[in-house]
């Protein structure tokens, strides 16, 4: 970009990069949304979101049997069956408990246990039926969702419940611990090969606006579909937060734990819901990313890119996460394509790669002028 006026010849690549960046940005938004959900409802800065994305993607990849030239081990399916079974059991148990709580009549503990065992059995049978081959997507997807639900439950039960009322930094460290655990656990369970998730999306690039630019603008349809899925999810979540009873309870908890509890909002349940939802968001991000780049360990790190989105958009703002994601996605791609070559030439660098930090620096500079983020309210400090 030597000249200040973009020439028509530059406009095509510029738009192409911009669109590519925006589409990637939607994915950042999706990961950032997971962070925002948990931060809003529990004040936990969840560093494990990236690890959850990886875990979800690995699970799905393994269940659909999308392993290049490797045979499927029975043991993995037994584990999957056990997890799926307990997930079903848990769901059944939870439904029963709700039913009882709403006055559906008392029920004995023994029967709940029986029910749970039944759920596990069904899960086992289902998994066993597919144990020798790969699972179809329509089965693998809900199974993975169930596993993410169980994971969320375990995190809430085993970790967060014991850390209620601790300082933010302690909770943050705990999620770092969870992230390490999940990274290890996912790879122990599912192996650490690079998997590919096949969603059956069209692969051939499509060209837009061929009349305007020579050769048109090249857009990856996979990105486009991903962006649409992400956008739909974002809308659903926004509605969930603003319009439903649970959403209202979530916002109440976010404002003040103790006050919310005192008006009878069950904190445990709310946190469980939040973690489950963010687990599902992680699944969506994992699937899309997995389909795009393949499932590998680095997904866990790519998710770190959602962090500048957070400081740009604010930790508690859903629209902030979306707009921030788009800005970061576009900014980072544009900088890599247009700014990096200039830097490399000017300073004789050993390669570009400035997208590793550009987003952070962008967000940081922005913060200096507007510390509350894009959509945060100005804080009036009191003493």
């Amino acid at each position: 970009m030597a000249s200040s006026e973009p020439e028509p010849a530059m406009l095509g690549p510029f738009l192409e990069t911009l669109i590519g960046g925006l589409l990637t940005g939607v994915l950042y938004s999706l990961v950032a949304l997971g962070f925002v959900l948990i931060f809003k409802a529990s004040g936990v800065f969840n560093f494990a979101q990236g690890a959850m994305v990886l875990f979800a993607a690995l699970t799905l990849a393994r269940l659909t049997g999308a392993i290049d030239g490797r045979e499927v081990h029975l043991v993995h399916f037994i584990v999957a069956a056990a997890i799926l079974g307990s997930a079903l059991a848990f769901v059944a148990w939870y439904a029963w408990r709700e039913y009882v709580a709403r006055g559906g009549g008392a029920i004995e503990r023994r029967r709940i246990l029986l029910l749970a065992a039944g759920g596990a059995l069904i899960g086992g049978v289902v998994a066993g039926a597919y144990g020798k081959g790969s699972w179809p997507l329509w089965l693998a997807l809900p199974a993975t969702a169930a596993i993410m639900g169980v994971l969320a439950y375990a995190i809430e039960r085993l970790v967060l419940r014991h850390l209620v009322n601790q300082e933010g930094i302690i909770l943050f460290m705990a999620t770092l611990g969870i992230a390490y655990f999940l990274d290890g656990f996912g790879q122990t369970l599912w192996g650490s090969d690079i998997y590919k998730i096949n969603l059956g999306l069209p692969k051939d690039p499509i060209f837009l606006l061929e009349g305007v630019f020579e050769g048109g603008l090249l857009v990856d349809p996979g990105d486009l579909v991903a962006a649409v899925i992400a956008a739909v999810l974002v809308v659903v979540l926004a509605v969930f937060f603003q319009k439903t009873r649970v959403g209202r309870a979530l916002r109440a908890v976010a404002d003040d734990h103790a006050a919310a509890q005192s008006v009878g909002i069950p904190l445990d349940t709310i946190w469980l819901i939040v973690w489950t939802v963010s687990g599902l968001v992680a699944l969506a991000a994992g699937v899309i990313w997995g389909a795009k780049l393949g499932v590998q360990f680095s997904i866990s790190l790519i998710a770190l890119k959602a962090l500048p989105v957070l400081i740009l958009g604010g930790f508690t703002s859903v629209p902030g996460a979306i707009i921030g994601g788009l800005i970061i996605g576009a900014g980072e791609k544009l900088s890599e394509v247009f700014l990096a070559p200039i830097l490399v030439k000017q300073f004789n660098l050993a390669g570009g790669g400035i997208e590793n930090w550009f987003a952070y620096v962008l967000a940081l500079i922005f913060l200096l002028f507007r510390p509350q983020g894009l959509f945060g309210e100005r804080i009036i400090e009191r003493v």
Partner: protein
């Protein structure tokens, strides 16, 4: 019975303000230092030096540095690795380009000072950004510095591989080569640095840091200048971290590339601080010992149990156990090993008559 402070009366404010007001503590610490200087070299093997003692001491220093920033001044930082890298590469370039300064003390001090300067630069946003926003902002420094040392060729002296190596090392004309020599040098530096850190945190400057940590608004109203205070914490913290980074490069690795100081290093040091205890110099040592020893023990475990494991599986398991241990520790004692230690001491003071 031996650990009693009864009968030890303080007759001056000076005596009351010592680092260790209790006589038995003074004797104990003195014994530990003497043993570290005299007894350890008589019995330790090269493995013990290179895999345990040297990493432990260097990372303790880095943890002290980070603890000053996070534990005492309340500014969460995820950029420790980056500041260690600044120390290491600054020291390397001085050593390389100015052979007349081939004295490791000078080289390390230079590394520390450069890290302090960079720390001040990246600490500037702390005036306007607080809490986790700041933590994420410090990631910017981590990724930028990582990138800078990998891409700007001058820092690595244009080596094609991007990795750098140091050769002949001296301190005041004495050659430093054998593990035991490196160990003694590191130990001496760490002891001095620890005393300095302890002096700072128990004096006026330490109080200003803690005031900002506990309630920044009130601190400003009673006269502390927030920017100056925070930047002094960033500077001192980065200085220690920079020296630790330089020692890590020169005395632990010998040759290294930017990957040695990536974000995992930042997390590792942060774990040490949290597990050891926020706002505790002793805790920094305990945390470092824990984090250094745990993977070593984990690697030994399958051998002891007689189970064979692939290295990939072992490293995944290590991740799992590591994560689980951290969570477990936070649940059991969020204030870290240092708190456990002081509880134990409190019990010991009263033992055997707890009431």
């Amino acid at each position: 019975m031996l650990y009693r402070e009864a009968g030890q009366f303080k007759t001056s404010y000076g005596a009351d303000q010592q680092i260790f007001p209790i006589l038995q503590d003074r004797i104990f610490v003195l014994l530990v230092i003497v043993a570290a200087f005299l007894v350890v070299p008589a019995i330790a093997s090269p493995y013990l030096y290179t895999e345990i003692l040297i990493p432990f001491l260097i990372l303790s220093l880095a943890a002290i540095g980070l603890n000053i920033l996070v534990g005492y001044c309340g500014q969460v930082s995820l950029g420790t690795g980056g500041f260690m890298a600044v120390g290491a590469y600054a020291a390397y370039n001085l050593w390389l380009r100015a052979p007349e300064f081939n004295n490791l003390i000078v080289v390390f001090l230079f590394g520390g000072l450069m890290a302090a300067a960079v720390g001040i630069l990246f600490g500037l946003p702390s005036l306007r950004i607080k809490g986790f926003y700041l933590a994420v902002a410090t990631l910017a420094s981590q990724f930028f510095l990582d990138w800078m040392f990998a891409r700007v060729k001058w820092f690595t002296n244009y080596t094609p591989s991007g990795s750098v190596a140091v050769g002949k090392l001296e301190v005041f004309g004495v050659q430093i080569d054998q593990p035991v020599e490196r160990y003694i040098l590191i130990l001496a530096i760490v002891v001095v640095a620890t005393v300095v850190a302890k002096n700072l945190v128990r004096g006026h400057i330490g109080r200003s840091w803690m005031a900002i940590r506990d309630m920044d608004i009130a601190a400003e109203i009673i006269g502390f200048r927030p920017l100056r205070t925070k930047l002094s914490a960033f500077a001192v913290s980065s200085f220690f971290i920079g020296v630790a980074g330089a020692m890590w490069g020169f005395l632990r690795l010998g040759s290294w590339e930017p990957l040695a100081f990536d974000i995992n290093r930042s997390f590792q040091i942060l774990f040490m601080v949290i597990i050891g205890g926020l706002g505790s110099i002793l805790g920094s040592f305990l945390g470092a010992a824990f984090i250094v020893l745990m993977p070593i023990l984990l690697n030994q475990l399958p051998g002891w149990l007689g189970v064979k494991m692939s290295t990939a599986l072992l490293s995944h398991l290590e991740f799992m156990v590591f994560g689980a241990m951290i969570v477990f520790f936070l649940i059991v004692e969020p204030h870290g090993l240092a708190r456990l230690w002081s509880i134990a001491k409190e019990k010991l003071r009263l033992w055997p008559f707890p009431h």
